[in-house]
Symmetry: C2
Subunit: 525 residues, 2 copies
């Protein structure tokens, strides 16, 4: 009985707290909404402007209906102009043009075809006419829908085909009852043209947002964030103190900076598509090669995968001891610094639409690689070397490092000093005794399984260095693409050495700003 009462009381309390929570939530809701509204406008003020533009356009187009003299001329069909504005006016000029022209083209094609059908159907009796119209609707509907699966059509003219189908059906079907179809179609086209006209005026003349500009800027930003993520990776790898990163990887700043590059495919393609509809707005008289930006984006993603792998080295379960890593700190930081300097310089050259300097894969990068090479060669036995008399030295060092590590986190990684067999046995025993708590056990299991294998502790560092090298190789592809872009987009010719030096110094300053303050870029060990 007492238990019953207790549980009843407990339930009531739970209900009260839930109610409280609900009231609290309701109270904070208005503030929450206001904050979101402000945030969205603050992130990109062009959004506010676009919303105002749409409101203004709608009001303008409504005047066709509201003002007596205009209404006299256009009449009931003005409503099509309103519809057009709602559907066509998009955020960027390119998107608006793409939709507007598609809508116009679709309407014209559909109108022509509908008149042809009408012409044939007119010759026959009422019943046969209905059957004929029905068949035409079926066949044209099927064909147009099938057409939308064609990749080229889907990419450029999807909306146009929908409008074609819509208009064709409207005209064909209503021609059965209404007899001045020519007038209906004519008026419809007329008012749609007015709507499209208002949309184009608004998006061209009032604070225009160009898809091309956005694509261009996003490319620059992607290059810069890649440079930043490489710098951050390196500085984290060679940090003196281990920082325990808790929580999900999505909150990691390094992850954030390359994530935008990895997920850029569909955004890039849409922007390039819309940009290709935009008229040239620069002084050059050629078709701007937006598809080259898409290609460049693919190469950047390819480069980005190496950055992901490099980042993976940081999060790996098996790690080279910090004392061993420290031996290679300076040359690695130097190579990474040169890498990100080149990326920054490329970003700069694209930003200012000038060709990049010919000596980009430069002496500096080469010298840094040389330096790393020398350091690796000078550390015998870590890798296939030629010096054989320093062996014990290095092994002692590694052993000391391993012991140190053992002492530090003795509770967790005890298994790393166990023999393989005993670890395996322990692992098996644990598995048998605890089958149900799979989820909790699994991370421990895998860690045990992997750390108990006494893989050489130099292995992870070798991977790290190798990935750095791989990056240098892929950087070449990136540079090639930037040059290609500069050529086809007629960027300004590269001018003098002084310009490079200035740009480099600038980007150097920027790079330095990115490094955490507690880590000097060329720290003395």
């Amino acid at each position: 009985m007492a238990e019953d009462r207790n549980s009843h009381q407990g339930k009531q309390e739970q209900k009260i707290t839930m109610l409280d929570k609900f009231v609290m939530k309701m109270r904070s809701l208005p503030r929450e909404i206001c904050r979101t509204i402000w945030k969205i406008g603050h992130e990109d003020p062009r959004r506010v402007i676009h919303a105002l533009k749409v409101g203004l356009s709608l009001t303008l187009v409504s005047l066709l209906y509201l003002m007596e003299p205009l209404f006299e001329g256009i009449g009931q069909n003005a409503i099509w102009a309103v519809m057009t504005v709602v559907v066509v006016l998009e955020f960027t000029v390119g998107a608006t043009l793409c939709k507007g022209l598609n809508r116009g083209l679709g309407t014209i094609c559909a109108g022509s075809l509908a008149f042809f059908i009408e012409y044939i159907a007119n010759e026959t009796g009422l019943v046969f006419r209905a059957v004929f119209i029905g068949l035409a609707v079926f066949f044209i509907g099927t064909a147009a829908t099938y057409l939308r699966f064609f990749p080229k059509i889907k990419k450029n003219y999807d909306y146009g085909v929908v409008i074609f189908l819509l208009t064709f059906n409207l005209i064909t079907v209503s021609s059965y009852r209404v007899h001045n179809v020519l007038k209906v179609a004519h008026e419809r086209f007329y008012t749609i043209a007015i709507g499209v006209g208002i949309c184009l005026l608004m998006s061209f003349l009032v604070f225009p947002n160009w898809s091309g500009e956005e694509l261009h800027n996003s490319t620059v930003i992607k290059l810069e964030s890649l440079a930043r993520s490489i710098e951050a990776c390196i500085s984290e790898y060679f940090q003196d103190q281990e920082i325990v990163v808790e929580g999900r990887s999505s909150e990691d700043p390094i992850y954030k900076s390359y994530k935008a590059v990895l997920d850029s495919k569909s955004i890039d393609e849409t922007l390039a598509l819309h940009a290709s509809w935009e008229p040239r707005h620069s002084r050059h008289c050629y078709r701007y090669p937006w598809q080259q930006y898409v290609k460049f984006g693919a190469v950047l993603r390819h480069f980005g995968y190496t950055a992901v792998a490099l980042h993976g080295c940081l999060q790996s379960e098996i790690q080279t001891p910090r004392s061993v890593r420290a031996l290679f700190k300076n040359p690695c930081i130097r190579v990474a610094g040169e890498l990100s300097k080149v990326l920054m310089e490329l970003a700069d050259s694209i930003r200012h639409r000038r060709r990049c300097a010919p000596g980009l894969l430069s002496d500096n990068l080469h010298a840094a690689l040389q330096d790393l090479n020398n350091t690796i060669k000078s550390q015998p036995r870590l890798f296939l070397g030629s010096n054989s008399n320093q062996t014990t030295n290095m092994i002692a060092l590694a052993a000391a490092a391993a012991n140190q590590k053992h002492e530090k986190d003795s509770g967790v990684s005890l298994s790393s000093v166990k023999t393989d067999t005993s670890a395996l046995i322990e692992w098996k025993t644990r598995r048998v005794t605890d089958q149900s708590e799979r989820k909790v056990l699994r991370p421990t299991l895998s860690k045990l399984a992997i750390t108990s294998l006494e893989f050489s502790e130099a292995l992870p560092f070798a991977a790290f260095a190798s990935l750095l090298l791989e990056m240098v190789v892929r950087l070449d592809l990136v540079i090639e693409q930037v040059e290609e872009l500069g050529k086809v987009a007629h960027f300004k010719e590269f001018k003098s050495d002084i310009e490079i030096i200035i740009a480099r110094e600038k980007s150097q300053r920027e790079c330095r700003r990115e490094l955490p303050p507690n880590l000097p870029s060329q720290g003395i060990e």
Copy 2:
């Protein structure tokens, strides 16, 4: 003169060949089009069915207009039903439902608001009424457009907001001239409901395509193609003969199989969004966790980046000699085989909607890792080892390998035996003498710059082995997500050991099928 005539003749010939080409192209065009039509239908026969469904729906909805008794009841407004069918009927059930319900919801909201505005406006004079309507159009237009930038609204209700704006404007503006607005709105809603009804019937009952099914299947396919790409990477890495891969990397079969995984983000999200609108079509009575598939997709992409890095090892400029690689062939192939076996088993468990076996990160994988570990430890001096008396042996081996390589491609990689300084000097000289042919020179330059650094030839293999390990670690995250998916989606409980064995044997057979016939999975060296 003679030259002039020649050039004139040349131009004419050119014109003729261009004309010929054009005629040839025109002649082959119909065949080309037919082939594309057939290909698109053959790739996915559901496309043909969908096109026929749209044609049929349009014909059905046209009957409202064409048949006398139906037209009597509905009248001119039947045209709205036609429009609705064109716009709402999409490829999958989820997409159709999403659009249809958005359209319905938008229309209802807009109707209610418009009547409210109408009610206020009715109280006043004609001029003030026009101003009031204009203001309402402006404010609602601005607010609704701004609302579309909210991430949550944009994701789920973007189309609904557009329809809201459309309907609101239509009703409010036409209420100025037409006085039975209530009737207009009522009829419009009525006919839209008919249109949506036909669309839903068609997409639910006639060969329905479920977004959920598609998402489920694509997840299975992604797992399988990852498994396949790992197998292919490994077998290519340990091939006895070097295969010169020409052409762009996009035609590489390995690249193709992981590319689908890397680019899956936006497709996954769209499918999950549409799937979340679909009613449950399985026997379970809960909300199916489609978002879990999206999460799982993200983890798979994360795993995929390691596959990209592994593939990068194959294409790298610096390579460990084949003779050194061959030492590690068997254990590496074994680890990769186990990896892809686990992936195949996971794919299988998702396909049949059953929980995966608890011992997945199994003895086999552990034993394979152990094997690799032993092999690496038994090869002294490649990595930080404990055996010091086999040093010379290994170095001799590597030297022999290097010589062999040198002899084989002496023309190309001569620089790899040069001293660093001479290579650098040569590089600089070349740069000075040939500034204009940057594009042609660059690949050679970077190859020279990198291969001239005599980085340890074991470095690339260390990276390769380390990436394999990294894969095993990330596989854990994949398994965790599959378990999570199995839990929240109430997959069938895992049953007996026999089942696993059968499944494993099956996937083993599949794996073997994937290996090229000239490479035995456990080849004897």
